[in-house]
Amino acid sequence: MNAEEPPLLSVRGLVKRYGARVGCLDVGFDLWPGEVVGIVGESGSGKTTVLGCLSGRVPADAGRVAYVRGDGRTVDMLRLDEAARRCLLRTEWGVVHQHARDGLRMGVSAGANVGERLMALGARHYGALRGRALDWLARVEIGLDRIDDLPETFSGGMLQRLQIARSLVTEPRLVLMDEPTGGLDVSVQARLLDLLRGLVEDLGLSAVIVTHDLAVARLLAHRLLVMRNGQVVETGLTDQVLDDPQHPYAQLLVSSVLQP
């Protein structure tokens, strides 16, 4: 990482309130190309709110989210017009939801799900679309014979992998993941984490991963943000935060992890 190049994503002073309640308050961090930042904290700490504000799905009340596009121009995601924002979300960004059903079209085949973004961007060759879909299904380790099956027939782990294929097919530079392993059993989780790690390395992805599972954070993230009550209480390198937490809440979090 070259310290002189600007961060890919630069968040400053992000604020989101739900009436009198605070969603997130004065959240800020930087993300460099190829880096994975994890956001950890208990339920209700504002992790998902931060992710929502970054992608623009949830309108933020204040702050600045500076993103450097592929063409080198910097844009503020919070002030971008709707058309440009949606286009960016379809091309350079990827979003992986906690529940795979939120990120997939359950009524169309797996191949159509993977190919949708390409079709939205103007791909008009059926054979080529199918080829790309097969390629990505192989990469996320879904059997190629499932390409025409409806996602209804997939298991939870397969749904999540299909969702990952669907968002990565346009080779985005930044991926937002909300609890990607939530609700999956341990062995499936392990496979998924392996896959994610491999993809992040192979594609040079930058990612912001929200999770309440510290093991996932340790495995995937280079740096961590610990959130509590909507504010960032500690930040640093992953092993630094997990092995030597400074803030009392971070210490509580680390010490609470059950050892099997």
Binding site: E82, A83, V108, A112, R117, M119, A120, L121, Y126, L129
Partner: protein, 282 residues
């Protein structure tokens, strides 16, 4: 007491309002313009949109033709034609070539249209994305941002399941390279007639309260894939009455033994061909 109607039944303010909506529609080809649909003396689903559009554009010098699935003589076509004859005094005809204004339900005439003609289509559901996205707020945003990927996903699914696109009527089109449009339930056979037609095409949906338009000489392209191009229907036999090939044929069961005839859906086209050159006895 005799009831007197305004010219073409509608009052002047209503006609003005609809004309303004139509001008907007012509200015932005394929874009659905909302309008204040009035109560008409026919139920929703029977052509109220088409009748309102016709009533707004018809003038005393027009010659009106009304067809229903290509035929001038169905109950509804006759009924609407008589309605306009009574409320405007305008001349009516069954000959496409003689008409200046043609109101149609679900077909475009076979006879090539010419400059100066207006075709008014009756539309049940104007929104092409309706069955893919039920929320009106979302479909309006999709049109505004030109986000039509979901329609191509639908076509992809058709090809995956059936080997070809299964939609044979109301086939979605892109107008002037911009808006996705539903061309009313015309068979896909008629879609090529929309492309760069010399006539003005107006579409009226009364129940949904939308009008849209395709101005003359506008590009209208049916959606397809590069390796699965758009194709129209073909019959392997000519019309049994006039011998036409390359016209849209209806299948008629004529007796209890299952005997059937294939005859032109466009009654004027068929009658014209028979009058001009009676087919050889077979």
């Amino acid at each position: 007491m005799t009831v007197r109607y305004g010219f073409a039944y509608l009052d002047e303010q209503t006609k003005r309002m609809i004309r303004r909506a139509l001008l907007k529609a012509v200015a932005v080809p394929g874009y659905q313009v909302p309008f204040g649909s009035r109560e008409m003396p026919l139920s929703y689903g029977w052509g109220t949109g088409g009748v309102q559009v016709t009533a707004s554009v018809i003038g005393p010098d027009d010659v009106l033709k009304v067809i229903d699935q290509g035929a001038d003589d169905t109950t509804n076509a006759v009924s609407i034609r008589q309605f306009f004859a009574r409320t405007t005094g305008v001349a009516t005809t069954t000959r496409t070539a003689e008409a200046t204004l043609i109101q149609t339900r679900h077909r475009i005439p076979e006879t090539p249209l010419r400059e100066g003609q207006i075709v008014v289509f009756q539309v049940p559901i104007p929104e092409p994305l309706r069955w893919l996205e039920p929320r009106e707020t979302e479909t309006r945003t999709m049109h505004a941002l030109e986000e039509y990927g979901v329609m191509h996903v639908r076509l992809y699914e058709d090809i995956t399941r059936h080997g070809r696109v299964a939609q044979t009527y109301e086939y979605p089109v892109i107008v002037d390279g911009r808006y996705l449009m539903r061309p009313s339930p015309i068979p896909k056979f008629d879609n090529p007639k929309l492309d760069r037609s010399p006539a003005l095409m107006l579409f009226g949906a009364g129940r949904e309260k939308r009008v849209y338009a395709v101005p003359p000489w506008t590009a209208v392209k049916s959606l397809d894939f590069d390796d699965h191009p758009f194709e129209i229907e073909h019959w392997d036999r000519p019309c049994d009455l006039c011998g036409a090939r390359g016209a849209f044929l209806d299948e008629l069961i004529v007796d209890d033994q299952g005997g059937r005839l294939f005859i032109c859906s466009d009654t004027d086209y068929c009658a014209g061909r028979r009058a001009a050159a009676p087919p050889a006895a077979s």
